[in-house]
């Protein structure tokens, strides 16, 4: 077992030195790093929240270029994106999805609704603060947030993970 580990380590080293020519500057490498890191996201949308992330999925802002890949099962996901308000019924499912995701995992919420209830602050059937129900790592505010804001948020998330 140890042997195999050593071998792979050596291999990696080799790869590193051979690809040195590719790394032009430090800056360039940093940028490339961003492209390499992929976050597999599970999307849980059930409100106007869906429109919040839709442009990011489309070709204009194409999130897959930056490694954000939507997956179809929570068991493969690193990141749970909850867009918009949750009802008392749907938050139960959101919790179930969260529990099904393997650790380490992060939760990102989009929009102002998951922070304070947003424009549904006086609705009898939506929950008001998502953080009362799930450990939210990042909230991207806006109603709905711009795609730029979403990318900025994801960038911060990657930074947080790296540090």
């Amino acid at each position: 077992m140890e042997n195999i580990l050593l071998q792979t380590k050596n291999l990696l080293k080799l790869k590193d030195s051979s690809s040195k020519t590719l790394e032009k500057t430090n800056n360039h490498r940093k940028k490339l790093k961003k492209l390499v890191k992929s976050i597999w996201v599970f999307n849980w949308f059930n409100s106007c929240g869906f429109t919040e992330v839709l442009p990011v999925v489309g070709s204009r802002w194409d999130m897959e270029r930056f490694g954000l890949i939507p997956v179809s099962s929570p068991r493969q996901a690193d990141c749970l994106i909850i867009a918009g308000y949750q009802t008392i019924k749907s938050i139960k499912v959101a919790k179930l999805i969260y529990e099904q995701m393997p650790a380490p995992k992060v939760v990102v919420s989009l929009g102002s609704c998951p922070v304070s209830g947003g424009m549904y602050w006086d609705s009898y059937n939506t929950i008001k603060k998502l953080s009362d129900y799930l450990p939210v790592d990042l909230n991207i505010p806006g109603c709905p947030p711009r795609p730029e804001a979403i990318f900025d948020g994801i960038h911060r998330l990657i930074q947080k993970v790296n540090s």
């Binding site: 009802t87 019924k89 209830g117 006086d122 009898y124 929950i127 008001k128």
Partner: protein, 162 residues
Amino acid sequence: MEGLISKIKSKFGAEILKKEKNQIWMKINNKDLINICNFLKENGFDFFSCLSAIDILENNIIELVYHLWSQEKKTILNIKTEISREKPEINSISKIYTASQIHEREIHELFGVNFLGNSDLSELFLEDWSGPAPFLKDFDWREYVREKFYNKENENEKGYYN
């Protein structure tokens, strides 16, 4: 069509409120509902399209409107009937029109109307609901929300109590 209308009038004492091309509004006694639905289904109105409810607080009634469609006659029939707000009860038509089951379930959830004979009146959207029927006009939803979700002592939530 004219023959059918006069038959309903004479047989069940229905009152025709309004007639338009392809649309008829009528008012019936809530006790006749099952008989009328049976009669209409035999006479071409075999499609149950929708059930709506209106809470009329001033008159202390809930008005139910059954929308039936006939493909053969290309006509929609809106049957209005009233039930009291104190005892909102009416016979279910789900045995006649199967599609009405889920409509009745929804109206039961939102207006608290009890449909006698419906097989399943459990919650549809409002899981764990403890308040009164939310679509009734005398339901103070803001008060309900304040009580359920907010705390007056919380500095950030004070604004909701003005």
